[in-house]
Point group: D2
Chain length 341, copies 4
């Protein structure tokens, strides 16, 4: 069975494991004060074009989201998220467990717009009987594969600045977003237009690790305390740092993401050729074709993937995810099987 | 500079890294449903002599402590800990951040006794104006290097059972405790006498990882939800599982710990020979000699370690930690320098 | 200006104030152990036909909701509520501040149905990536004036029992619900069909006070601790108890509510006679007529009320609330002014 | 049995009940926007000599403490309190339930000194492994009857300002403190030397109510949201406001407290005359004589009071509390019985 269920089915890009072995017995300080952490932070400040950035490394997306939010908000402040946003749909109430409401907004494409924010603020005007919206959470790419353009992000950024809202971007799949064929955003655009964002490694070639980047030092004040308090400060920070050192040494992070996108788009083209529609308009490594249930059954004999949503009695949307490690021969085999199904 | 500051200065035992490389491209399910997690759990159930045990893998000690406690307690319930206990002294209020009070008990040796618990219950009798003690937290070895004997643990266990208290053992350095020369406890004793405990890998040869073992299934009910909610469920569970697969395949976990202890006891013997006293009566890999400040200064030129506590104007206690990776030639060099200082 | 904004514009029914004065200097134990609390609890056990009920008195609705929920749920458990439910729409994230997600369900009439619960459970099946629904929150009367029939409540109750869900009824306006002309529910029905509910006094003749009734002792375990912990245990419990002693000595609680309903229905009839529609189908003391903006402006010169929602450019829904203290002559005056507007 | 157990055995000063009756049917806005709240706030601003003060009314001490602290601190920040402080000893972990650690300091007299704070800061230097002390909690009078002098408070205030600590004074018994024979503090001193404090009415003639006074508007930012979120915003704010309107209209608040103190000191003098010692050096309305157990038994036949602490096999400390309502003839009777015991 070949696995198209997710982009974390394999371990890590070999460069990372090699570097772990190469540096294994060099003594280092603990708790993120090792040389590799220092180097990796410097490297990311350079790659984001922001010498002021304050950076920490964490172990996963839910952890990063909950700590950033717990650290940023006062008791009565709330987060605005698309209903499909990871913090709203997939994190077991992690944000609420830190005491904060997630205001979930219905969207058609998984993306928030300034107009959504405007309406949300109006609906939260009856002080003090409602929470105070304070942080806007977006994902790029989104949980349904769509991406933000530069104009999208600029518009959100301006609205947030004008309304005293923090803008936070979940970049679990940031590489896939920035290398999508229709993306006009760069890493430094993201750094300029958000207050903070994270760069996900786990889903793009790392064994573990997300890098939270605070674009203005003042939003990072005392973040180290909260990081420790929520159990995210690893004794061996070298493990996380080395992921980013290797992924960003050259262009590896982006080339891995591009591979994943290309693999997904190849399948996408085959789906279109067969005349099947899609649930969402994805240009990244998660695609949601709507297939006849008979086809799904057939494919399920050889491939693992989620059946996402029943559309009607005869067809369902499935989710196919490709990754940095996806084997193109298996993609070709899948396409062949799709054609014949 | 050679580092005696902690037991997480190096990476991991090479077997672990080799296994990570060997299995790297084998596709696995995510979120702890991989084959290695299944195997490692089975292995630990066998090693703890408890086929009923429910086991999860986490990334660090603070994380494990806070999730176990958040998962076990109702809103008004509290934890009892020695004042030197990690959750009381070193975790940035992690337990309080989950809403629970830590009742800190002064001890001379870092260990809780049944009599401490008895007094604490008496002091918390004025219901509902005080919290309800519900979980007892102990560390073995303790934060100051001491260990619990079987009789110690038996006595606590009986008191807890009789008083509806959960007994939880923090085993960040469980290997060091169980292999101390004066220990009469086994891993299966620990499994029998506590409700839950964790086996620490990070400080004993692992790159990352702690295994929480619930000795009765009913205390583990729904733990998976809380694990996810607090950001501890890694997408690539294989990373954690492989640590334990390798450390417990044979006797590696214990032989690594024994090495650390032996190195510490070798330094200890040299300290005693020089006539210097100790702050605590440690038989494990953390020792706290009281040295003249002039000697400390001299040693500090070549060795990294914490100056733990000023004793008077002329002498201070220091903390020296050895590990699975401590180089015996450096231990010998340190002893030589100590003799000559 | 006469106030139709809410049902807490006046103080308390005079019987309550008189009783406070009459008992004022009789020494009592503190913290709810006074004689009046004991008597009032006994009285409510009798009125609810449930000798097993465990009862506490609190100061307000938000307080009661948050403490009941904080006391009932484990960390990963969540509440299901109508989107219009008070905990979802009007309590500044009080439930989330205790760490729990409120799953908000869109409804047309402010009421939850078993089918809503069924769908919600299905949508929360992907354990452990989503919260675990555990408590169902309903209000009777609802925030938009509608009520639950006995069949409604029976159906919810059965679904909850079959699915291990707790059923909690917010009775801030329970008197109004039970005395509505189309209600077939009694206080003892409510006690039989829910796990817990509260009887609101603040909005029905009390100066302050809500009585939480746990219909099965086991759901009340240790509630006193959480009550104290969240700051709800008044030193002078007599203040709260005396409200209920007076309101339930005879039929006062219900006759006050009936008066409020009759006043609202009188206005309602006049609205209908003028041919104006309603936003919701209320039979209790909150009504939501849709009026031309010109009429609203005119009425606003003499009466206070909320403009609830713009319907289109020319008309808006308003909220009119009557109470135990509403003066019928002012109701008649309002109707007259409405007719002439 | 006459009750010396606490200072909340009776209802309220009659002026308050009379005013409640007098204003009962005057319609008011809800949620603290009533005229009485506006007037009472203005009155307290005048009495504290601080036109900038931001004031809210709450229902009890635990509630006030937890909301002030939850509103003031970020996730990793902690409170410093004497171990005998109410938040540390008597509030069921209310502060921890908001996520914040209470650092408890041993004292001999229930009072914190600048030197205690200095040591605490030193002990919390190992960032980020420990919480960040941010708010200092003191009570005046303390839980054991002692008081802060102006010099005491000045010294704390200076230390706090110099070290970025907020100074918060719990004034559950502020009246008793300020009217103690050895007090040189005034209400405006308290307003000048703290960041915020509360004026307790419940224990000094009110039926219910504490007034939180923020001495600088910036520390009160968005407090209204948190007040609502934690269930403390009463629908009928008039109830709380009228307590303060009446108690501070003239000098009533202070004359009631003075009466309580005088009654306690009268008993105190009799205890001394009999040659019995005291557990604490109280000059306010709570005294802790150490009496032979036989005497205690005898007195217990006619008087209610707490046996506070066994001193040895033959004697115990008891706690006697007097109040605004304590009947001097009963005090005289008690003294007579003490003499004869």
């Amino acid at each position: 069975m070949y696995n198209f269920k997710n982009d974390y089915s394999e371990g890590a890009h070999p460069n990372i494991l090699n570097k772990l072995i190469e540096t294994n017995l060099i003594q280092q300080l603990g708790y993120g004060e090792d040389e590799y952490s220092i180097q990796a932070k410097a490297l990311l400040r350079e790659k984001t074009n922001n010498p002021e950035a304050v950076i920490y490394f964490l172990s996963g997306g839910t952890q990063t989201n909950l700590i950033v939010i717990a650290s940023s908000l006062r008791a009565h402040e709330a987060v605005i998220s698309a209903k499909t946003g990871h913090i709203s749909a997939n994190e077991t109430g992690a944000i609420e467990a830190t005491g904060h409401k997630v205001i979930a907004i219905e969207t058609t494409d998984g993306k928030l717009k300034a107009s959504d924010l405007q309406i949300t603020l109006q609906e939260h005007a009856l002080r003090p009987h409602v929470v105070k919206p304070r942080l806007v959470y977006i994902s790029n790419s989104t949980e349904i594969g769509t991406i933000y353009t530069k104009a999208d992000l600029l518009s959100l950024s301006e609205f947030c600045k004008a309304n005293n809202l923090l803008l936070y971007l979940d970049g679990a799949r940031l590489g896939h977003a920035l290398t999508a064929e229709n993306s006009d955003l760069t890493l430094s655009d993201v750094a300029q237009l958000t207050d903070m964002f994270y760069i996900g490694a786990t889903k793009n070639g790392g064994l573990i690790g997300e890098a939270i980047v605070f674009n203005r030092p003042e939003v990072a004040t005392d973040f180290d305390y909260v990081l420790k308090q929520r159990g995210a400060l690893l004794a061996k920070g070298r493990l996380l740092a080395i992921q980013f050192l290797e992924l960003f040494r050259d262009d590896l992070y982006f080339s891995l993401a591009r591979h994943a996108n290309v693999m997904a788009m190849k399948i996408s083209a085959a789906v279109k050729e067969k005349g099947y529609p899609f649930l969402t308009n994805s240009t990244t490594n998660q695609i949601f074709p709507i297939l006849p249930n008979t086809v799904i059954e057939k494919l399920n004999e050889k491939y693992l993937f989620y059946v996402w949503k029943a559309i009607d009695e005869k067809q369902s949307a499935v989710r196919l995810i490709t990754s940095w490690a996806t084997d193109e021969t298996m993609v070709d085999a899948f396409i062949e099987d799709l054609k014949n199904a």
